[in-house]
Point group: C2
Chain length 270, copies 2
């Protein structure tokens, strides 16, 4: 442990994944991961800058923050980089009108977006909304477009809820890509643009930041490709095989956020 802890020297800002690091979703909203409420509070009392960088696309940013506050976390909406608001900016810039294949909980994020006569599809973690009928509707919209454009809010394979593993948006993005013979534009981790905007919002250079997440590909691999150091926590969707991933090696593995913060506070200033 201590050996690689030295790699944290010079860190000035911390990007925190939310699901699987702060809490596991599930019945009644889910449950905080042991030690994480206190770990976030300690980080915030330190000299380190903190920003939350999530692919959560089932809930609006406001609902997610209110849920986390209820679980005891010190977090506000302005501290969260999330894919739905980022997507709205892109849609406006490019004059696109989406057909939304999203969870009802996140639909309000798109209130200001024209969805009439759609010329693209936005897919997010729709959960139970991924019915055959809804998937087929999105598929038909894409097939009727001359230049089909598909945005996917993240491309995670799965996440962990208190009841077990749950399919994330990624598999459904792949289904639509294959059905239509197209490639989706991913908004969210591991897209470099998304990490860069989180760093910009935190005001810290890539070389002075560290990402802490439970997803070896989306969090760790994505951050490293942007020059950001990355730790994987052994909570959330972590599986032991992640430590022998064929392509991605984290800068360090920790049992949970609490251990990551211990190491950061010990080594970051050096």
């Amino acid at each position: 442990m201590a050996a690689w802890g030295e790699r944290l020297a010079g860190v000035r800002g911390v990007l925190l994944d939310i699901s699987g690091v702060l809490y596991d979703g599930g019945e009644g909203g889910g449950a905080a991961i042991a030690g994480s409420v206190e770990a976030v509070a300690r980080l915030k009392r330190s000299r380190l800058k903190v920003r939350f960088c999530t692919n959560e696309s089932q809930k609006s940013r406001g609902d997610l923050v209110r849920l986390l506050q209820r679980l005891g976390f010190d977090i506000s909406e302005g501290e969260v980089t999330a894919p739905a608001p980022a997507t709205c900016l892109i849609l406006k810039e490019r004059g696109l009108r989406p057909h939304l294949l999203v969870h009802d909980g996140v639909r309000s994020e798109f209130d200001q977006i024209d969805t009439s006569n759609p010329n693209c599809v936005v897919v997010a973690d729709a959960g139970e909304g991924f019915s055959y009928q809804n998937m087929n509707k999105a598929f038909r919209v894409l097939m009727e477009l001359e230049n089909p454009v598909l945005f996917s809010l993240g491309k995670g394979r799965y996440y962990k809820e208190t009841s077990g593993l749950m399919l994330d948006v990624g598999p459904y993005m792949k289904a639509l890509e294959y059905a239509c013979g197209i490639e989706a534009e991913v908004v969210g981790k591991p897209s470099p643009e998304f990490f860069k905007s989180a760093l910009r919002e935190m005001g810290v250079d890539a070389s002075q930041a560290v990402m802490i997440g439970d997803d070896i590909v989306g969090d760790v691999g994505g951050a490293q490709r942007c020059g950001v150091r990355a730790l994987q926590v052994r909570t959330g969707k972590f599986r032991p095989s992640d430590e022998h991933h064929p392509e991605v090696k984290a800068d360090g593995y920790v049992d949970n956020l609490a251990e990551a913060v211990d190491l950061l506070l010990q080594h970051a200033d050096k």
Copy 2:
């Protein structure tokens, strides 16, 4: 037209796709494609051997044949090569017990198969059965296996019903492959084993056979890779862009099965 018709010289046996060539499925069972009932009858009166080679995996072979008979086709169960019976043979050979993500209409094909304590997953065109809950259940079964095995009955992208295009099993196979980081074993077109068993059952060599289908990749490309000539019909899921497919070029394109049979009867014997 006539120019490439000469490529049909020496054909002794014809493999016919069913959906999109004989009929389009849909409300009330669907509708025969104009001219196809008579075209099958003419083929059967000729010296050519005929076999039906389908990826239909929503209905049992018996139900499919009864539906086609009701639409006027001369067809019997013994003339049909279909993926569900082929899958049952493989499961028995390898001692595998499947979790079935299939349509209720095809479940009876697996009546003789032990499905307790599953050690593999079989995915077929489940239609409305592709709910989030059912997909997540299949995903969890795979993730709990040390060596996850996934069989997919075909890998078609979509097919056409009278109401429009419908997602086929392929996109859902891709979703599970991505979620679990595995590759499915495809039983059905375009798997070479499947074409070979249809040829064996028809008693005709690959070089003396022709496949007629509406799927440029599954029917035409699959058959050609086995040394079987292939025509694409402009019915069913056919789209004009298929005639400029980047990888697959049919030996000929015909408006429908009736035109294909005209050409076959004119050129096959030469």
